[in-house]
Amino acid sequence: MHRRSFLRIAPAIALLANCGKSPGKIRLALNWKPDPQFGGFYAAPYQAHGLDVEILPGGAGTPTIQMVGAGSAEFGVVSADELVVARSQGNDVVALYAVFQNNPQGIMVHASRKLASLADLFKAGGTVALQRGLPYARLLEKKYGFDKVKIVPSPGGDISAFLADKNFAQQCFIMSEPLTAKHRGADVQVFPVSDAGYNPYTTVLVTSGSFLRKDPDRAKAMVAAVREGWRAYLDDPKPTNQRMNQLNPSMAPEVFAEVADAQKPFIETDETRRNGLGSMTEERWQTLIVQLKELGDIQQAPAADDCYRAL
Amino acid sequence: MDLEIAAGEFIAILGPSGCGKSTLLRMIARLAEPTAGRITIQPEEQFQTSFVFQDAHLLPWRTVLDNAALPLELMGVAREERYATARTALQQVSLYEAEDRYPAQLSGGMRMRVSLARALVAHPRLLLLDEPFAALDEITRFRLDTQLRDLWRTRGITVVFVTHSISEAAFLANRAVVLTKRGGGIKLDRSLDLPLERNDDLRMDPRLGHEMKLLLSAMEEE
């Protein structure tokens, strides 16, 4: 789930973008600018696996799941809850690899407020900036109620409002915005959304059902390459960080390195040590589907084992 | 050029295009400054000048009455009074019935008559006209010529009338001045040998033809 907060004229352009693609080329659509959360994708040895991959960086509002559904990208990065909602609407996309085993989403607050939990935050007044339409936000609303706080749209990675106002709380990735804020002198405390019981896979590599059926070998090769890429990135992020920093100069190099380090526990867990990086379980998907149905975000519950494939 | 105009005269200024007759008129109206020489008016008291342009130049968002009354409005005259004066002027140009109409609803000739009425409401001592009837058809032109001449006689204004129509100049004026082609000079300055009262009959009169011939030859030579 992401810091997408501006509208792009999504689906129609996704339709049009499908023209002009050279045969055999694989397009991977990212849902944000190049940063450590995509490190493994940039480090992956695609050519060694016989793949000609073009990485399409994204930004605020990039409609990756519609792009994959429409065929304007063969692979995309989405969050698991997005995928469940898309499947329930008839968009046949399938997850292949989950970068973040645990949801790195959180809400960051100023430590001076001495808040102890999310429950406290939603009782303490002030402003909370989040993307109200996202399932996690609706879950928080259901659980804690929003009537004591002022909800405003998330500024998407921009922390200037947060820095300017002690009573401003903001949606973030635990290992990203808080680090930037600390560098700017703020004393930050972060509450993971997973504390409220919401923990979908995040930064998930997906492809369309039709690509899987038509070209299973290349899909397998893609997953293998990505897995190797993440291993390489976890072991030594520096060269890939340099490449990504050039594409995305908005984050300072030291912060890049710090974030790459801070995100490790979300990527490599006991589960992945057992079953390989990026692996997923049916149980996690089922939990998510049930949660989304309860929230009313989906009418039809897709089958959990349709949502992902282990390649 | 050295030109003296006496009060009460009806003087026509003729000349080929580009000779500066319009500019001369604007200088007399104090709308433009001469680059050399000066324009003096004696005696040096304040008096009202009115100007009639080639195009009627009415304000399209105002009625005929409001257009005619405009000069008085700008001079601060109260509404009842200026409407009364405007109505009189409109009557004098035979447009009394049209007072509530808008310029868009009038013919070219009618608009010019409103422009004339407007020129008269401020009781000008000096009336300047710059080819006012050039864009109108002949019958209307003849009618307006006659009306203008009558107005001049009844009100005793000084009229300076710029035109490139020899027949019009001859018909209307007591005195005709022909300017040189490149401006700044007078080719001919002649008091016309024609009766004081002018009417349509005069148009067929050989005396008019005679004057026209003189004016024509002055315009042609160069």
Binding site: D158, A164 | P60, P103
Partner: protein, 251 residues
């Protein structure tokens, strides 16, 4: 009645496209999660009508206030610019800034200055819509016929009187043209402001998008278009009333 009948030809392409879209989605030629079937947009509009119409009201108020502000300020600035060549040369380039600045980029700044809420939305609508008002009003004022200006001078009218009795009324058709353009821009500006500031139709679009509710997005966008049309129609009405007796455009 005649005006109503003249609307019918415009409705025909709309009906054809709507029917075509409905069939295309229903028979699977276009995926419903990319382009919603018109029937589902209608359903979304009915289901969420309270939310949508509340949002429409909010956006309408912000767009209207922003538009009125840009009308008043735009005309005032144009009058100021018209007073001398030197002033125009000194300040007009800065007015052009309002035309060229990308609102998406400065909207976050607006939030910092005006906070989250209606003030930012109004500011956004204002910034986006003011330039056409300035440009068209200035052009109208400066293109008053010289002969008419001479006429006013002859009778001793001051600059101010000439401005109000001559230049302004003469500029009215052009001012209204500027207002027509500005009205649509004010709606766009309001919606963009709402993406950042979080209310009205802009917020509905943003939230529905993250929920992958394309039908609701289209429903909100449709209402925004209706708002734009309504404002445009309002200006046309004003134009008709003020110009009908004397300007060629209304005859």
């Amino acid at each position: 009645m005649r005006r109503l009948r003249s609307v019918i030809p415009a409705l025909i392409p709309l009906l054809v496209v709507t029917a075509a879209a409905e069939l295309a989605v229903r028979y699977g030629f276009v995926k419903s999660y990319l382009v919603p079937a018109p029937s589902s947009v209608l359903r979304a509009m009915i289901e969420s009508r309270a939310e949508l119409f509340g949002a429409l009201l909010t956006t309408s108020v912000s767009a209207l206030v922003g538009f009125l502000l840009s009308t008043v300020a735009g005309i005032a600035i144009a009058v100021f610019l018209s007073s001398s060549r030197a002033i125009q040369r000194a300040f007009y380039p800065y007015a052009v800034f309002f035309q060229t600045v990308p609102i998406i980029a400065i909207a976050p700044l607006l939030v910092i200055w005006f906070g989250y809420g209606t003030r930012t939305v109004v500011a956004s609508a204002f910034v986006v819509s003011i330039f056409p008002v300035i440009a068209n009003t200035l052009s109208g004022i400066l293109s008053t016929e010289p002969a008419l200006r001479d006429l006013f001078r002859l009778y001793g009218a001051s600059t101010l009187v000439t401005l109000f009795k001559l230049r302004f009324p003469a500029a009215l058709p052009q001012i209204l043209t500027g207002l027509r353009v500005a009205s649509g821009l004010a709606v766009i500006g309001a919606i963009v402001g709402e993406f950042i500031g979080g209310q009205g139709l802009g917020s509905v679009v943003d939230v529905a998008r993250t929920q992958q509710r394309v039908d609701k997005v289209f429903a909100a966008v449709l209402l925004a278009s209706v708002l734009g049309l309504a404002l445009f129609g309002l200006i046309n009405l004003v134009s008709y009333i003020t110009l009908r007796r004397w300007h060629a455009s209304e005859q």
